[in-house]
């Protein structure tokens, strides 16, 4: 009898992962695992480097969300030099991070997941990708390209380069201010980006009626949620306090100082993955696991804090019990709302004169031996923690990556989907694509999570109860 099914690599996600589905003697799904197979070791090889090189080095953990790493890293460095950075620098860092959230969320939605929504989970695999989208619906594809480009251009206009623009954000602020002229250029492109987002939201809402089944069965389960929010309880990506709620929306912990994360977050290791399993300490492992990212943030926040996004979040909450939305499939929805929020916030920031102040860099010397920086990356809470010697050379690094927090949830989601859809006796490609689709909904950034990336083509394999390979099906 078949014992194990492997999906390797999981595709159209940001990184390399494999899923192994374990079967009972009768062929029904017993369990499933989401595994990461690679690792680079940033926490070790940064040792000995000057602290101010950390934003540049650690942002190389990820080419999709380098800005989130730059920000968490720079905030850890701000702490090492004990400065409060200039107000304009906070605004500019926020703006850059919004550019990054817009482009990253767009990548996830349009480039990776939308083909499943448009063509269906069982569509021809040759068609079911961004190039298929370009061919059959060039307008939508073009919108996706434009929106992603808008996000990337915010980063480029601020820092000079789209990806790994690592010399602009520095400990103490940013290296140079935003000129009025460049700000106006971003603002000029903003309305189109907003229109694309609004029309996409509308289209998505209409499509949702066709996806009742996916909403119900693609990783729909109760869990705890964690994220940063503003002191007023609004959506926040740069600063703020951590809040953890349970599946009913009850507060587990509120106003947690994220720089004290060691007191309440711990990490477990499983032998079968290079991605660790963070959990909320008081509840233990794995009971203290929680979800992070767009869905979690919207579940935690009282409101977004911008007019259009606040209207949209009301619609979003209708899919939940007590306003808590549990379906992993609705991460997509949450992502679109966050894009809208970022566009509205970016518009505000660009319209305020304080943004263009010349003073953007508080220069200071290293004066503390330990620094922690926390931000909300597109995929969730990102923690950088450094220790330095008396001269500022790094002696110790701990990184807790946004995607990692969702590790327990991934495993739960793939198990649930596998149980619902996978039938070992009559295995189809579409069944396995549904397992992959639930992973895509989380938009895992495995480049970050394992501090690496990898990919390998193979297939799924069927083993009998004695571990003998009985079938091998290439896709």
């Amino acid at each position: 009898m078949v014992k194990e099914i492997t999906i390797n690599p999981v595709t159209r996600i940001e990184g390399h992962a494999k899923v192994t589905i374990f079967l009972d003697d009768d062929g029904s799904v017993k369990d499933a695992r989401f595994q990461i197979n690679f690792f680079r070791g940033f926490e070790k090889f940064c040792e000995g480097r000057p602290y101010y090189e950390m934003p540049s080095i650690t942002s190389r953990a990820c080419g999709i969300c380098p800005v989130s790493h730059l920000i968490a890293s720079a905030k850890a460095c701000d702490a090492l030099v004990s400065v409060t950075i200039p107000e304009a620098a906070v605004r500019l860092r926020r703006l850059m991070h919004m550019g990054q959230i817009i482009q990253s969320h767009t990548l996830s939605f349009f480039y990776l997941s939308f083909p499943d929504l448009l063509f269906g989970m069982d569509a021809d695999i040759e068609k079911r990708n961004i190039f298929g989208l370009i061919e059959s619906d060039p307008e939508i594809a073009k919108n996706g390209i434009k929106l992603r480009k808008f996000g990337q251009e915010i980063i480029e206009r601020l820092a000079g380069k789209r990806i790994h623009s690592s010399d602009w954000i520095v400990p103490g602020g940013v290296r140079w201010p935003l000129t009025k002229e460049k700000g106006e250029r971003i603002a000029a492109d903003l309305p189109e980006a907003k229109n694309i987002t609004i029309s996409t939201l509308e289209k998505f809402r209409n499509m949702l009626q066709r996806f009742d089944e996916e909403i119900e069965h693609l990783g729909n389960f109760p869990s705890n949620y964690m994220g940063l929010i503003t002191p007023d309880g609004e959506l926040e990506h740069y600063d703020g306090l951590l809040k953890i709620i349970d599946y009913q929306g009850e507060v587990i912990a509120d106003s947690l100082d994220p720089t004290k994360y060691k007191e309440f977050i711990a990490e477990a290791v499983e032998p079968w993955s290079y991605m660790k399993f963070p959990y909320y300490k008081p509840l233990g492992y794995p009971g203290g696991s929680y979800r992070v990212g767009p869905l979690a943030r919207l579940n935690i926040a009282k409101r977004c804090g911008t007019p259009l996004a606040d209207e949209e979040i009301k619609e979003f909450r209708k899919f939940g019990k007590n306003g808590i939305v549990e379906s992993s499939f609705l991460y997509h929805y949450a992502r679109l709302i966050e894009i809208l929020f970022c566009l509205e916030r970016a518009e505000e920031i660009l319209s305020e004169p304080e943004t263009y102040a010349d003073r953007v860099w508080a220069k200071a010397e290293v004066s503390r031996s330990e620094g922690i920086g926390v931000a909300e990356a597109p995929r969730g809470t990102l923690i950088h923690h450094y220790k330095v010697d008396e001269n500022g050379l790094i002696t110790w690094v701990n990184l807790i990556i946004a995607t990692g927090h969702n590790n327990v949830a991934f495993n739960r989601a793939v198990t649930e989907v596998a149980k619902k859809y996978v039938n070992a006796k009559k295995l189809t490609e579409g069944m396995l694509n549904r397992v992959e689709a639930v992973i895509r909904a989380y938009d895992p950034c495995l480049s970050c999570a394992s501090h690496s990336f990898g990919s390998r083509g193979i297939d799924f394999e069927l083993y009998d109860a004695d571990g003998r390979l009985i079938d091998r099906n290439s896709r």
Partner: protein, 235 residues
């Protein structure tokens, strides 16, 4: 002063006797790539990027330390020279941890831009990873020996221009490294005046001023500038 006639890349030029081939070429608008050469201080002939061919000899010569001769026919840019220069860069790039992406000098580095100019788009040798020290003790000057190419520009400006000779070389071969006084931490270097010239002329990210963008703090003209000012002051 006696002048010498020669041709460089087929062009007839006339320069004072004793001029180096490099200076003769530069005076006539012919560009030869260099890395250890620094106007204003003595030449060292270490980086081998300025190699040229002289008709009649199978050898190649460093233009920075070879004086011109009457009737010389110099070639500065043959296929052979291009290959040699690329090889010299390959060796420099693989000798230490020259990871441009995370270097403080990224975008402001002469080694990086020369590699680009000469079309070095890969590393053919396996990289060596010496475990060398980073000295962060000084209030603003930093030396990261992992990124040093041993061009000795810093040592020569420190000695010939600032006149204090705080910097020098220690050990030999691939162990060679730039040291401060008698291998002190920078903050304990009693001879250092903190003048920053070493940081200004360092072509890579080995010596620099902490926290400043290297694109704005690098200034290799400083040695030439001071030498010329001194000369005019004595005239």
């Amino acid at each position: 002063m006696k002048s010498v006639r020669l041709t460089i890349d087929g062009r007839a030029v006339e320069v004072p006797d004793g001029t180096t081939i490099l200076d003769a070429a530069m005076a006539n608008g012919i560009k030869i790539p260099t890395l250890c050469h620094l106007e204003g201080v003595k030449d060292y002939g270490g980086c081998r990027l300025c190699l040229v061919e002289i008709k009649g000899s199978p050898k190649v010569f460093p233009a920075c330390t070879t004086p011109v001769g009457q009737g010389m026919e110099v070639t500065t840019n043959s296929d052979r020279l291009k290959e040699y220069r690329k090889m010299a860069l390959q060796l420099l790039l693989s000798e230490r941890a020259h990871i441009c992406s995370v270097c403080v000098a990224n975008g402001a580095c002469e080694l990086q831009s020369l590699a680009s100019e000469l079309g070095v788009d890969q590393l053919i040798f396996e990289r060596d990873w010496p475990e060398l020290s980073v000295d962060l003790t000084h209030a603003y000057l930093v030396i990261d020996r992992n990124r040093c190419i041993l061009c000795t520009r810093c040592i020569r400006v420190c000695d010939e221009i600032e006149g204090v000779h705080t910097l020098d070389l220690m050990l030999r071969g691939k162990e060679t490294q730039v040291v401060i006084d008698l291998n002190e931490n920078w903050k304990n270097a009693t001879s250092c005046t903190g003048c920053r010239k070493c940081a200004k002329v360092c072509p890579v990210g080995a010596i620099y001023v902490k926290g400043e963008a290297l694109s704005s703090t690098k200034d290799k003209e400083v040695a030439k500038f001071i030498t010329e000012r001194r000369r005019s002051a004595f005239e």
